[in-house]
Symmetry: C2
Subunit: 386 residues, 2 copies
């Protein structure tokens, strides 16, 4: 394994009634809480009442930032920062999925500086020296943001969706109760699963291929997601399936499977540009991009794609060339996405081919896990996805 | 997945020259360092000189506790506690394997209390409220102690080897350089691998069997250990193999694969009693106990043993009953231990059958992962191991 640093201090409370740990955590922080949430599903589910009652019992004063949208935007971050500074917030309590948590990380970083959060952190990647502590109550398993230090925020007027990472931004605690996911709409289960798998793929399909534990664990997680998503779609209250999926999504991006890997993330960068232009769900964009990215880059890491096809997707290698085996594995991924109801073409989500060059030009390309991509490469990948 | 809490704040620096991170960590702590090590292999390897030079450059005053033996004993812990109290130690730097680290955890807990460390923590399991910070430089991958909060110490005059766990005892940082393991004697590679596998088994062979990610990850880690140990035995300077084994051993007991599992640990308890009477290597004792424990309990969890046999050890199920499949998998484990040179009988390590009742009576039995054991059960397991 090549050199890495691993550090993840988030405390996770997992299971039915994990919310019972909230009071203990609140008693370890100051009086002023910023409660952050999305479009109101937590009000309908009763979680809002539960959380505010616990806060009240702990003697906390609760301020709110609500209406945080999918692909959270800079406006909401500024709104939260203003409250933090004005109200001397001691803890930001993010109740929701990755969008709410990511927005809260922007707020947390911006609250402790005079710098503009967007320019300083998300654009210029300056160091974050302090942040308001964050606690998470997760309702949508997908992004892993509940147990990592990364955040993605969108500046809509520039069609720019970009990320920022800092050790300051690990949530102090995360409460993961799988029963909160019982009422999720079907497409959110699907997009969450695609996002989880995509996170694993970004780390798995990258050098070095030294047979390290991270790759073996990645394969285990892919199999576990696949073995459980169908059950959750069939029976939304299947606790085992829901809980397995929830922990898979956290494990997919809590840095464990990135240990010793270069990591790629270009498929995510391409998707960020898609949803920076067209406000499509992140998981939908990933389902469209990933199989086409795989086909485009497979020649750079054919052995890995062969292993993936045979070991993870059960492709029979008999009578096939390595490239045919690799392509069969990639087709299995695309077929799987389609089978659970994810889109696999740009047409399905209403993105026309003629906007591809403009979208591709905006992609913030990474060095890549096996080989770098150019804007021209991105255009070809997206053209194959029409 | 059933409810669990996961928390692990240890920062891991992994890879060639990971020692370059030591100065940064030392600059974050006070002036007085207690350097703890074992029998002098770090002096012969030059690591002692490297570490003391870095401490000197950082302006630290270094005190020492050395000669920490395998199966570390209370005497050494008392020696370290006395230095900590007298010299106002700010950081305990454990340079070695699990025995050195475990001894340092006893020292760290005892240094911050007026209570007797053995009585209060290891015997009475009282809460540890504060501990001296610990840093680790690992030279022997096996116990996972570098990234967990547990410790095992032996009171030799009572033939009692017992454990203690506290969130206070997570090392602040751990430096893992696989090249430090190049010079390990062959039997330490073998016993380290057995210990790693045994840690995985203790967690894997326990209820609930809800198809959770922990089980899938456990299987991945078992396969990774098996794919790499032979390479390391054949070529001691195979960096990939060494590094994979090193990270496997850490992952086997950093609490990740215990998430959502009852865990068993009775094989470890039996081994602790063996090495509490006969000072045999922990890994040797585990290789003797585990296959016999597996055969004894298999009826309580036959489905799990069938899965293990087929998925992990490639047992062909055709024409076999479930019990035959399970037994073939268990035999594969025992054959594997023998193939890498681990003992598989008590006779091989000089433990006579007539002492079994006395050894069994001293085992600190746990509730068990599938079913509890009695002293009589332990006697039968050990009799099968003669």
């Amino acid at each position: 394994m090549q050199a890495f640093t691993f550090y993840n201090p988030t405390k996770v409370y997992f299971g039915k009634n994990a919310i019972d740990n909230l009071a203990k955590e609140l008693n370890n922080c100051g009086k002023n809480i910023l409660l952050a949430y999305g479009g109101g599903s937590i009000i309908r589910s009763g979680l809002y009442d539960t959380v505010t009652a616990i806060c009240a019992r702990c003697g906390k004063t609760v301020y709110e930032v609500s209406g945080i949208m999918p692909n959270p935007r800079t406006e909401k971050v500024y709104e939260g920062i203003e409250i933090c500074k004005k109200r001397d917030i001691d803890l930001i309590l993010a109740v929701g999925g990755g969008s709410v948590i990511d927005c809260c990380k922007g707020i947390a970083a911006g609250a402790k500086t005079e710098r503009d959060f967007w320019q300083a952190f998300y654009r210029n990647k300056e160091e974050c020296l302090a942040a308001t502590p964050i606690g998470v109550i997760l309702t949508l398993p997908a992004t892993g943001s509940e147990m990592n230090s990364g955040s993605v925020v969108t500046k809509w007027d520039e069609n720019l969706k970009t990320d920022y990472t800092s050790d300051c931004l690990y949530p102090r605690f995360a409460i993961l109760d799988p029963t909160y996911t019982y009422t999720l709409p079907r497409n959110q289960i699907v997009y969450g699963a695609v996002d989880t798998l995509a996170h694993i793929f970004e780390q798995y399909f990258s050098a070095p291929d030294d047979g390290n534990p991270s790759d073996y664990i990645s394969e285990a997680l892919i199999e576990n997601v696949r073995d459980n998503v169908g059950k959750a779609l069939e029976n939304p209250e299947d606790y085992d399936a829901r809980s397995n999926i929830m922990w898979d999504s956290t494990m997919a991006l809590n840095r464990i499977i990135g240990c010793g890997k270069n990591q790629d993330w270009n498929s995510h960068m391409i998707e960020h540009s898609l949803s920076g232009f067209y406000d499509i769900p992140h998981g939908a964009g990933l389902a469209i991009v990933f199989p086409n990215w795989m086909r485009y880059v497979r020649g750079n890491c054919l052995k890995r794609f062969v292993r993936f096809a045979v070991k993870v997707w059960g492709v029979d290698p008999a009578g096939k060339t390595d490239d045919e085996i690799a392509l069969a594995g990639i087709q299995a991924v695309q077929d799987y996405f389609a089978s659970i109801g994810a889109p696999t073409t740009l047409t399905e989500v209403g993105i026309p081919a003629e906007r591809i060059p403009e979208i591709a030009a905006k992609v913030e390309l990474t060095p890549g896990g096996y080989a770098p991509l150019t804007v021209d490469d991105v255009i070809k990948i997206l053209q194959a996805a029409v």
